[in-house]
């Protein structure tokens, strides 16, 4: 079972003064990074299991049907889960968890390949979205760092950022569904915009 123990170990080691201040030798820094990366990856799996449990009405987690993934390289537009083809039948389910003790409204920003997507909240209401082109600097960073750090050559760079607003209760979660937009015109409250660079 995944646990957070390896992340705890890595964080403990990274309390050394050279790790905190950036005065370690490069090979030591590489070791800190490797331990933190492994620990974060294990902790991420734990969180994915926990989310499967809390989003399922079944009594025990082992039967939770949905498996989650997260994206740590969103800042360079690398997120295999959101770049996959989203069909009318199978939605992309986004669970947003708020770790703080107050209600939050914030904006989610995910890379996608399709410009005809609709976002609905857990009550089925369409919510406003905005598409923004992924810029060339981000695309080139994505190519370099994904290959250097993950050892894979990512396929085509996603074309757009899909942006929408989420509202999450304190220390709670909310679910949003992203699907191929087949009924966009029928929903007057739903606005979608695609802004081009001037």
């Amino acid at each position: 079972n995944p646990s957070t123990l390896s992340l705890g170990d890595a964080l403990g080691i990274a309390q050394h003064h050279d790790a905190v201040t950036g005065t370690a030798k490069q090979h030591t820094t590489n070791d800190y990074a490797k331990r933190l990366s492994y620990g974060a990856s294990e902790a991420e799996k734990s969180v994915d299991v926990a989310l499967s449990c809390i989003t399922s009405s079944r009594n025990h987690c082992a039967s939770a049907a949905v498996s989650f993934s997260q994206c740590n390289l969103l800042n360079i537009s690398y997120c295999p889960a959101t770049e996959k083809v989203i069909s009318v039948e199978k939605s992309l389910v986004v669970v947003a968890y708020n770790p703080l003790g107050w209600y939050q409204t914030d904006f989610v920003r995910i890379p996608v390949n399709d410009d005809k997507l609709a976002v609905r909240d857990s009550d089925g209401n369409y919510i406003a979205t905005q598409l923004v082109e992924v810029d060339n600097i981000t695309s080139s960073l994505r190519r370099l760092y994904v290959e250097a750090y993950l050892g894979v050559s990512p396929k085509e760079t996603p074309k757009y950022w899909l942006i929408f607003q989420v509202s999450i209760p304190p220390i709670g979660w909310n679910t949003y569904f992203i699907s191929k937009d087949s009924q966009k015109v029928a929903h007057s409250e739903y606005t979608s915009s695609y802004a081009t660079m001037e």
């Binding site: 009405s57 989610v108 607003q165």
Partner: protein
């Protein structure tokens, strides 16, 4: 025609359409309006000199004494405006890129910087800063957090508990930032929050600067025995690191900024966690 304004709500940023640079920050709800300029510069790292052989390195921040070099005076920009977010993309030079975002219903700016790889082929190490310049009269005073906790008053070239002799006018006034830095003129507050540990200061009245990236050529002889020059390599082709991160900018009436610095600072530290799955919506809801 000379000004481009972004911000879907009461929080507005104005840019010069000729220079491409930020020139004014306004919050129409609170009435705070501050002329401002934001730019990137770098300190050239000292390699040691006749008077003092100390080089700038991993432990030591020691500029060579010259004023910092501005990255550019004119900045090409692209503007994107939509119902949820307005963005301004600025290319300061071939290795400094910035996106400023103002989201609907938010009263601050998110500034995403991308810096690197810092060129060193001219034989100098560089310590890159972003600097915000206003006309605020701040009386040598600014405030920085104490390890993420209370903001403490800092006075340039002064320590309350000993007689400070300043030998390094820049680095002697640098403080570590984990949460942020702000300054005030008794009418308004200008606050910057950071997403990572950085160094920051106010070297002149009305200015705030934070150091975002460094690439150095010499070891500072304090123990690490390596120059601060981490690289990223693909197929044995290597280049200096590129950093990408965010800092956040707000203006408030005097005495009102603390709420934003506390609550939004917590949101930077503990952001929403996003998890993704592909599923049939109806079966998802039924379970």
């Amino acid at each position: 025609n000379e000004t481009i304004e972004i911000g879907p709500g009461p929080f507005k940023l104005q840019f010069s359409s000729t220079s491409g640079q930020l020139k004014r920050i306004t919050n129409h709800r609170t009435g705070v309006d501050i002329p401002i300029n934001q730019s990137f510069l770098w300190y050239e790292a000292s390699s040691g000199d006749a008077a003092d052989g100390q080089a700038s390195g991993a432990y030591i921040f020691r500029p060579d004494g010259a004023p910092p070099v501005p990255s550019s005076s004119s900045v090409p920009l692209k503007v994107i405006q939509g119902p949820l977010v307005d963005e301004v993309h600025q290319q300061f030079n071939s290795w400094i890129y910035q996106v400023i975002r103002v989201y609907k219903e938010k009263e601050h700016a998110e500034i995403e910087f991308t810096i690197g790889p810092i060129p060193t082929d001219d034989g100098t190490g560089k310590e890159v800063i972003t600097r915000l310049m206003t006309n605020m009269v701040t009386n040598s005073t600014f405030y920085t957090d104490s390890n993420g906790r209370d903001f403490l008053k800092r006075v340039r070239d002064y320590r309350a508990d000993w007689n400070l002799q300043v030998t390094q006018p820049v680095s002697g006034n640098y403080y570590p930032l984990n949460l942020g830095i702000y300054s005030t003129d008794g009418k308004s507050e200008l606050s910057v929050l950071v997403d990572r540990g950085v160094g920051g200061s106010s070297i002149k009245d009305g200015e705030i600067e934070i150091m975002l990236h460094r690439r150095l050529l010499y070891d500072d002889s304090r123990g690490v025995a390596e120059a601060l020059d981490e690289q990223v390599c693909v197929n044995y082709a290597c280049e200096g690191l590129t950093v990408r991160g965010n800092y956040y900018l707000s203006v408030d009436q005097f005495g009102s900024g603390a709420h934003w610095r506390r609550t939004f600072g917590q949101q930077i530290y503990s952001p929403l966690l996003l998890a993704f799955a592909h599923a049939d919506e109806e079966s998802w809801k039924s379970s």
